[in-house]
């Protein structure tokens, strides 16, 4: 049991790892809601078989102007993620409010290139969650402001490199695994 619980703790960074086989056989789904027997069934939009990425990701500083890259220790460390649909059909924008939106992977490295220290959420992580299912229309962009301070410690001044990624469940690699779409990288500075 202990081994199982320890493994569960690393779920955040393993979002895309285990779903590949099932996804390759998935059914197309045009909407995030279907009605079966009078009941609304929510689920992700799917267009399997894509031959190119479905979306792009970009990140920038967290304020409205996208120009804030310096944060005080203990304050919000916000970045804004923009996901743009580059297909001619709706694509999935589903996720789960679990610490941050768990549909993204939040990657942070310190000045030495080592992964930054994360907050330990317990063993097991008893954090609650709320899934959501949504979509992005063709050519449109949705943004999400993520406070990295909710999952990373950022308790020491320094410069950090940040990147965000998200698996593209419609665009699979030769092994049938979702291709992970990566954003640009940005540098942020944490100061006292």
């Amino acid at each position: 049991m202990q081994t199982y619980l320890s493994s569960y703790r690393v779920l955040i960074l393993s979002t895309f790892v285990a779903l590949s086989a099932a996804l390759s056989a998935q059914q197309a789904r045009e909407s995030n809601v279907q009605i079966k027997n009078g009941v609304k069934i929510y689920g992700p939009i799917r267009h399997p078989g894509a031959t190119s990425p479905s979306f792009t990701l970009s990140i920038r500083g967290g304020d409205d102007a996208g120009t804030r890259y310096e944060f005080r220790v203990g304050s919000m460390v916000a970045i804004t993620i923009s996901m743009t649909n580059i297909t001619n059909h709706d694509i999935d924008y589903s996720g789960c409010s679990w610490h941050l939106d768990s549909s993204y992977n939040y990657l942070v490295w310190d000045e030495d290139g080592k992964p930054a220290e994360k907050i330990a959420f317990g063993d097991p992580d008893l954090s609650t969650s709320s899934p959501y299912w949504s979509g992005i229309s063709p050519g449109k962009t949705k943004t999400y402001e993520a406070d990295l301070e909710q999952i990373y410690k950022f308790d020491r001044p320094g410069r950090y490199t940040v990147q965000v990624s998200r698996p593209d469940y419609d665009y699979l690699d030769e092994n049938g695994k979702p291709v992970v779409i990566k954003s640009n990288t940005i540098m942020i500075t944490i100061f006292d």
Binding site: V10, S31, Y42, A78, D101, P131
Partner: protein, 564 residues
């Protein structure tokens, strides 16, 4: 000893602003006391007096004396008015203790005096130093003061100074002109309401009986300060004949005004808007909470949004002007424009409570496995962080009533506590989430094809060695409405508050005697909470009924807390 007065029969002409000669002839004066001697007790005197007894200032000097003639000159100030006066010249004696008068007596006496009549030709060239005020409001009757010199009063024989004004629009009339003194004229100007911004030529003219009229024109010229006009979409919307304008809450109201500039070196130096109703200039929604920027009311142009419907709102605008000398003239007549701000109509928010409180094992991904969750709804599939599960959500909130625009949801979690009891151990475990905004603004869990429906299905992992797990969840779903983009402007519309629906989910998952979680949890409460759908009002909070939060909902379950 005393010579006869030469006098009144003799009339000489003197000119203001000039040195004028005079002479008295046929004199017979005591030579000891002649004008040019130093007899100690003798003194000369001179005066220039109008018929009404007013003494006029003048400069005097004697030049020569003989027994036959006394000559000299008088200098009149430039602003000496025209008219008749008497110039008197004399010689007195005032004996001192040791000095007798020429007559040997001890009493003062006039040795000699004589007068001549003087016809004064007053100022020929008036001057204007200032006009106060120098900005005249359209639509108003104002008293003005012209300061300067050489103004001729009515008593002046050359007739009083004349004041005239001309303006290109023919919008200014003059009345009640009064030459108060040689340095001041008062008058009343009346400017028509529709007068444009223009300079006015104001002239003071002195007529002369013995030469051409002389005049002076105010420089800088007074300026007509027009009644301001409020414009919307390029059209004037203020004034007597203006109709009520219809706007939609949440759409930008971009108002401009005239005059934007003024002639004659005047500038629009201050602006003041009065905008009734609940309005803001800007709306933004960072994770730290909605920020509303107050409407700017001190600039000639303003852009704002009304947040709540209201009819017959009078927007007013006034301005101040600064003249070339830096004097501020406040404040202009008011421009008023009436608006009716319309809302989306009556919106209703219906809640559909699934009344499902189930335990579902979700798929973990590394390593593959299953972990039980207490759910509001019936979701199955991957565990959080492992992909997207699917199924019916616990609650749906569906809005209806608007024929245009779009609905915007925002969910604020007020309280969220997870509690576990254990088969062994000293006490239950409890953890909770900080209240705050649920994920983002706007709320993301909205049906893509039916964006009038928002939903939620909170999940709670069940502690593997717990006996029970209870979730107590309270949230407020805020409904906002965002009107369509206003045609003809690039300024986006903003969402306005409509109301909120509080809801809850309280359920307990129970592990049975076999160590298995019961599929059906004990549902204590779910769905609507409180007083139903509560319409927003401007007085709800400091941000006019918008949802308030300071941060996103964040879990603190990572650190287990012991319940006391």
């Amino acid at each position: 000893m005393v010579s006869p007065a030469i006098g009144h029969a003799q009339t000489v002409t003197w000119y203001a602003g000039q040195t004028n000669n005079w002479s008295f002839g046929g004199l017979s004066l005591d030579p000891r006391c002649a004008f040019n001697t130093n007899w100690p007790t003798c003194d000369e005197f001179a005066s220039l007096t109008t018929p009404d007894g007013t003494n006029l200032p003048f400069g005097y000097a004697g030049t020569s004396y003989s027994l036959a003639e006394l000559t000299g000159y008088v200098t009149l100030p430039a602003d000496t008015p025209s008219g008749m006066a008497i110039f008197t010249l004399g010689l007195t004696c005032d004996p001192g203790a040791d000095e007798p008068c020429p007559n040997g007596g001890d009493d003062p006496y006039i040795i000699w005096q004589s007068s001549i009549s003087v016809r004064i030709v007053g100022c020929s060239s008036p001057s204007i130093a200032s006009v106060t005020p120098d900005g005249w409001w359209a639509g108003q009757k104002q008293n003005i003061t012209i300061s300067g010199g050489c103004f001729l009063p009515p008593s002046d024989s050359s007739s009083p100074s004349q004041v005239t004004l001309t303006d290109g629009a023919g919008a200014v009339t003059l009345s009640n002109v009064s030459v108060v003194s040689s340095t001041q004229i008062t008058a009343t100007v009346n400017v028509t309401k529709k007068a444009p911004a223009e300079t006015v030529t104001l002239t003071v003219t002195n007529t002369s009986s013995n030469g051409a009229s002389q005049s002076a024109t105010a420089s800088p010229a007074p300026v007509v300060l027009p009644v301001p006009v409020i414009k919307w979409k390029g059209n004037a919307i203020s004034g007597d004949k203006a109709k009520n304008q219809s706007v939609i809450v949440g759409q930008p109201v971009e108002l401009t005004t005239t005059p934007a500039s003024l002639p004659g070196g005047f500038t629009v130096s201050g602006s003041n808007w009065t905008i009734p109703g609940t309005n803001v200039q800007q709306f933004s929604h960072p994770n730290s909470g909605i920020v509303l920027t107050p409407t700017q009311t001190n600039k000639p142009n303003t852009t704002y949004y009304w947040l709540y419907p209201q009819d017959a709102m009078n927007v007013a605008y006034t301005y101040c002007a600064t003249d070339p000398n830096g004097n501020q003239i406040c404040e202009s007549p008011e421009a008023k424009a009436a608006f009716n701000a319309k809302g989306p109509g009556t919106l209703t928010l219906a809640t559909d409570d699934s009344q499902l409180a189930l335990v579902e094992k979700l798929d973990t991904c590394n390593p593959p496995g299953k972990l039980p969750f207490l759910e509001y709804g019936d979701l199955s599939g991957p565990a959080p962080g492992c992909g997207n599960d699917e199924g019916p959500a616990g609650i749906h909130l569906t809005v209806s009533g608007a024929s245009s625009g779009s609905y915007v949801f925002a969910q604020v979690v007020d309280a969220d506590v997870s509690e576990y009891t254990h088969a062994t151990g000293p006490s239950p475990t409890s953890c909770g989430a900080h209240a705050g905004l649920d994920r983002s603004f706007p709320y993301e869990a909205v049906e893509k094809q039916n964006p009038q429906t928002a939903y939620d299905g909170p999940q709670m992992p069940l502690f593997p060695n717990a006996l029970t797990g209870t979730r107590t969840f309270h949230a407020s779903m805020y409904l906002l409405w965002q009107p369509d983009q206003l045609p003809g402007t690039a300024t986006a519309s903003i969402p306005v508050p409509i109301g909120r629906q509080d809801w809850q989910f309280i359920a307990t998952a129970v592990e049975n005697a076999k160590g298995k979680w019961e599929r059906h949890a004990i549902l204590t409460a779910s769905g609507d909470e409180g007083e139903g759908f509560v319409p927003s009002t401007p007085d709800d909070n400091a941000i006019y009924g918008y949802p308030q939060w300071t941060h996103l909902v964040s879990n603190v379950c990572g650190v287990s807390q012991e319940v006391q």
